[in-house]
């Protein structure tokens, strides 16, 4: 039988019924084997005797005098033989599935000594999601801001899972304290002084009733005494912090204290919480956010979503990876003032977010390095429409829109200390219009599997791209042109050829295409199986800017594609371009026909595209590019 990994440590001083209730709930909601050690701190009401006589399956240790919580825990730990300990107050009520996330977290993070659940009140509201320690030595529970996995200054030992080795390494709870208060704060600082970390895992929640076993006058006296001991023991640690007293009058200090331990704090601003399965550039935004997250797990990464679009559904996945997600902010300037002076870096995506959010937010963050990350040059799309529109009024409208967007983008690049583009072509334009900005190129990471299906197992053609449920998007124009001008002549030569249209939120015009030769598949959880089963990817796009991620995904799936010069921008196609890029529908039909009928050429193109993908769009290349972006923001390579 596998021995238990964890010992629950309780210290009692009276409160027999609470201890029994706590252990009952523990038995009910804990699915892994465990041990229990109760140290009774000489309860005057006979709790110790009763527990010793009646508690089965637990070790009861009785102290001869009330030495308090820290000493009781130290005694109990000396009798523990498991890898992990969990300090538990008797007024904690554990809930279903509470322990597994905490154990999984410690297994994944060997540098973490202790992890805490969120303590909630009986009404379900957050009581304590970790705490902050002020420069005055007082602590305050974090019951503000979004919940997400993060390193904390201090987590209460009311419910705390700790590695026994780490606890012993730092000497356990200090014996310098009176019977209660501050000994756990001291433990956190000792762990940190020895290179360990303490984290909060919001996937775990327990209810904390807060039944103290001392009178309030006695509690105040103990708190005062132990506070004095604490400030005497940690003067250097406290010297650089803001005080907790008066925190409500200076709200920005709350965030300073909460993020005190982060090696850097970055704020990323985009339209919505990224939903990579919906296209619209969200896949790349997610990749950039991931790069900031992975550069240092202790860094504070805050994602500011301008729109609340599906935030409730998507944000939890980011929060579990330690990303703070903020949405629903009406007054960005005021929001930033509340966090004044907090951020080291502000990254803004898309020109409208620069004007409406980035600039007002940055005003209260004068210390921050400003980054404008251009997933595409937005003014190019109306310029392309201007080039193809025939109606004079329509052309004028496109010209005005292009002018406005161009000016916004010039302003954004000029405002930024660091600019990021997805291709060298766009970076070249930026260097010209904003010579003061440091321009970097970071495109998109695509994983190329060791093997991809060959031509034999593939059939038909596919169109891949999101439609946003709106008419006149670049992808809608492209699929309509494919269905009306490319597919019919192609089907004359290949009568059995079918088209599958894959992409989220198809518009009414796209849905209307569904028929015998065209299947509108819509959104799929993972497009790769469809890309790996198609023979050709055809996207005759006239409008668009930047690198089209759909083609990078296509390359990674070993799927040759046919597109326009606009579609092929920034893809490093080299010699393959003459087989893949056609300016007119007639040219595209010819290119498609050749690839559908020439297996040797198809295979050569597939291998060529895979090589291009490995060379220019691999995760390693993207990681390097982002590392350079971070270095330009004065962020060193992470641990």
């Amino acid at each position: 039988m596998t021995p238990p990994r964890i010992t629950f440590v309780l210290v009692s001083y009276g409160g027999r019924d609470l201890v029994v209730r706590c252990l009952e709930l523990l038995a009910k909601h804990t699915t892994v084997p465990y041990r229990v050690i109760v140290a009774d701190s000489a309860s005057p009401d006979g709790t110790g005797e009763w527990l010793e006589a009646n508690l089965t399956g637990a070790t009861v240790l009785r102290m001869h005098e009330n030495l308090g919580f820290g000493a009781g825990c130290n005694l109990a730990v000396r009798h523990a033989d498991t890898e992990l300990l969990c300090f538990l107050n008797a007024d904690i009520e554990v809930t279903e599935g509470w322990l597994e996330p905490l154990l999984a977290f410690l297994d994944a993070r060997p540098e973490v000594a202790a992890v805490s659940p969120v303590l909630v009140n009986p009404d379900g509201s957050v009581q304590e999601a970790g705490s902050v320690i002020g420069g005055d030595g007082w602590c305050r529970a974090v019951d503000f801001g979004p919940l997400f996995t993060r390193e904390v200054d201090y987590a209460s030992a009311a419910c705390l899972v700790v590695r026994r080795a780490a606890f012993l390494e730092v000497g356990g709870f200090s014996p310098e304290y009176e019977i209660a208060y501050f000994e756990d704060v001291d433990l956190m600082l000792s762990l940190r002084a020895h290179g360990w970390q303490t984290w909060l895992e919001p996937a775990s929640r327990v209810v904390h009733e807060r039944h103290g076993s001392s009178s309030s006058a006695r509690a105040t006296e103990l708190m005062r005494l132990n506070h004095s001991t604490f400030t005497r023991r940690w003067p250097d640690e406290l010297a650089t912090r803001s005080p907790v007293v008066g925190l409500d009058e200076h709200p920005h200090r709350k965030w300073w204290l909460r993020d005190q331990l982060a090696p850097y704090r970055v704020l990323l601003i985009d339209d919505r919480v990224p939903q990579p399965d919906r296209g619209r550039g969200d896949g790349r935004t997610m990749a950039v956010v991931n790069a900031w997250r992975e550069a240092d797990p202790r860094a504070r990464v805050t994602f500011f979503a301008v729109s609340p679009d599906r935030a409730e559904q998507v944000a939890p996945a980011l929060a579990s990876r330690g990303i703070e997600v903020v949405w629903g902010v009406d007054d960005p300037a005021h929001w930033s003032v509340e966090r004044a002076g907090l951020y080291d870096v502000i990254v803004v995506f898309r020109p409208h977010n620069f004007a409406g959010y980035g600039e007002p937010i940055a005003r209260a963050q004068p210390q921050a390095v400003k980054v404008y990350d251009a997933e595409a040059l937005f003014h190019r799309r109306p310029e392309q429409h201007f080039g193809t529109a025939t109606d004079v009024r329509e052309r004028r409208a496109w010209a005005v829109q292009a002018d406005v967007l161009r000016q916004q983008e010039v302003d954004a690049f000029t405002w930024a200390d660091v600019a990021v583009c997805v291709s060298e072509e766009e970076a070249h334009w930026v260097r010209r219009v904003a010579p003061g900005s440091r321009v970097h190129v970071a495109c998109y990471p695509a994983v190329v599997p060791s093997t991809v299906p060959g031509r034999e197992s593939r059939r038909d053609i596919v169109f891949f791209g999101g439609f946003d449920s709106t008419p006149r998007t670049p992808n809608e124009f492209a699929v309509l042109e494919l269905a009306e001008e490319v597919l019919p002549p192609l089907r004359e030569r290949h009568p059995d050829l079918k088209l599958r249209v894959v992409g989220a939120d198809p518009s009414p015009a796209v849905l209307a295409l569904d028929g015998p030769s065209i299947e509108v598949v819509g959104k799929v959880p993972d497009p790769r199986p469809l890309l790996e089963s198609a023979l050709l990817h055809v996207v005759p796009m006239r409008y668009g800017a930047g690198v089209k991620i759909k083609f990078v995904d296509s390359m990674a799936a070993g799927l040759p594609f046919v597109t326009t010069p606009v579609g092929g921008e920034g893809l490093h196609l080299g010699w393959t371009a003459r087989h893949l890029i056609g300016a007119s529908p007639a040219e595209q039909v010819e290119l498609c026909h050749k690839l559908l009928t020439d297996p040797v050429l198809w295979t050569e193109i597939q291998q060529g595209l895979l090589e291009i993908c490995r060379t220019h769009f691999s995760p390693t290349v993207f990681r390097r590019s982002m590392r350079d972006v971070l270095a330009a923001c004065a962020i060193p390579p992470g641990a």
Binding site: P3, N74, T82, D107, L168, G171, Q367, A632, A634, P636
Partner: protein, 343 residues
């Protein structure tokens, strides 16, 4: 049950111990070797093994994760590590070590059976690793532990000698704390004696003879040699030392870039701070000048006020003097009558 150590590292060293047993001699060598090698091979994975490992948990193991050797084949164990260090006298482990693939480097500590001695890359004869506890335990935590143990009545409050074996079920750190506070230790255990030497506590055998240890530098040199062997083996196995060099060079470059940008940033921030400061200083100087001018005016006004007050006092005095002349006093009745007559 903890998972097997699979975290990526530059390379991996497996340290076979008897740390699933409670004695100081079981707990101490593996921990010292682990920390010393980690200091020489940063980024490497150092895993502790013992015959039963975590299947035989003990208070003494202090919660350190020890992987079990039993049920794992020599092939699996050799594949999981670049190099294996054996510091146990456990027969099962010694036999298993002798059966590891001949190409897998093994370094053994202390006296080992002949079959393992001939198969090992080299054998470290000593001195005892307990002389090198600096990286295993923080000396500053020992007085805290002593205070705790005394608070819990688990240790004498007064001066004491350790003359018998310490209790078996004692955490490694507590064992060292108890030794550290002793006036004198009498033991036959070489590990205890080595720990006492590191702690600076007098230690003798029961017959009164002292323990003799080779200089610590000998042990350090042997640990250097193990680290070199590990790196050499990794390179020979097609390990990524070269790649690692290039990765480090890249990281170093990025670090320099970030450092440079940080310096630039500090300069910018300094300038941004200095701008309003400069303005504030100018405003302060202007205010000081204004205050000085007002102050000078005030002095002048005070002076004029005093002058006028003096003149007034003089005139008032003149008036009083005049009013006190005989002419004015004696003529007052006449002037009063004259005034009434004029009506």
């Amino acid at each position: 049950m903890p998972g097997r150590s699979t975290q990526s590292g530059v390379g991996a060293v497996a340290i076979w111990t008897s740390a699933d047993q409670p004695d100081l001699g079981d707990q101490l060598p593996g921990r010292v070797i682990q920390q010393e090698l980690l200091a020489r091979l940063p980024g490497w994975r150092m895993s502790l093994f013992a015959t039963e490992g975590w299947r035989r948990p003990a208070v003494a193991d202090g919660g350190v994760v020890i992987e079990p050797l039993r049920d794992r084949t020599p092939e699996e164990l050799a594949a999981a590590a670049t190099l294996t260090v054996v510091c146990t006298a456990d027969p099962y482990a010694l036999d298993l070590a002798a059966r590891l693939d001949a190409t897998h480097p093994v370094v053994a500590f202390g006296p080992v059976p002949a079959n393992l001695a001939t198969r090992a890359a080299f054998v470290v004869p000593g001195p005892n690793p307990g002389l090198l506890l600096d990286r295993v335990i923080d000396r500053e935590t020992l007085p805290v532990r002593v205070a705790q143990l005394r608070q819990l009545s688990e240790m004498p409050v007064r001066d004491y000698e350790v003359t018998a074996e310490l209790p078996e079920n004692l955490v490694f750190e507590d064992r060292l704390a108890m030794l550290s506070a002793a006036r004198r230790v009498v033991t036959e255990d070489e590990h205890v004696a080595a720990a006492c030497a590191w702690l600076g506590v007098a230690c003798r055998r029961p017959d009164g003879s002292a323990f003799e240890f080779a200089p610590v530098s000998v042990l350090k040199a042997q640990l250097d040699r193990i680290a070199e062997l590990a790196e050499h083996t990794l390179a020979e196995q097609g390990g990524d030392l070269t790649t690692r060099m290039s990765v480090l060079a890249e990281e170093n470059h990025a670090l320099r870039q970030a450092h440079w940008q940080l310096r630039q940033r500090m300069l910018v921030e300094r300038q941004r701070l200095a701008e309003p400061l400069g303005q504030a200083w100018q405003e302060r100087d202007d205010a000081n000048a204004e205050a000085a001018r007002v102050s000078a005016e005030n002095v002048e006004l005070t002076r004029r006020n005093e002058e006028l007050a003096a003149r007034l006092a003089h005139v008032e005095q003149e008036l009083v003097n005049w009013q006190n002349t005989k002419l004015v006093r004696w003529t007052r009745p006449l002037r009063d009558v004259y005034g009434k007559a004029r009506g």
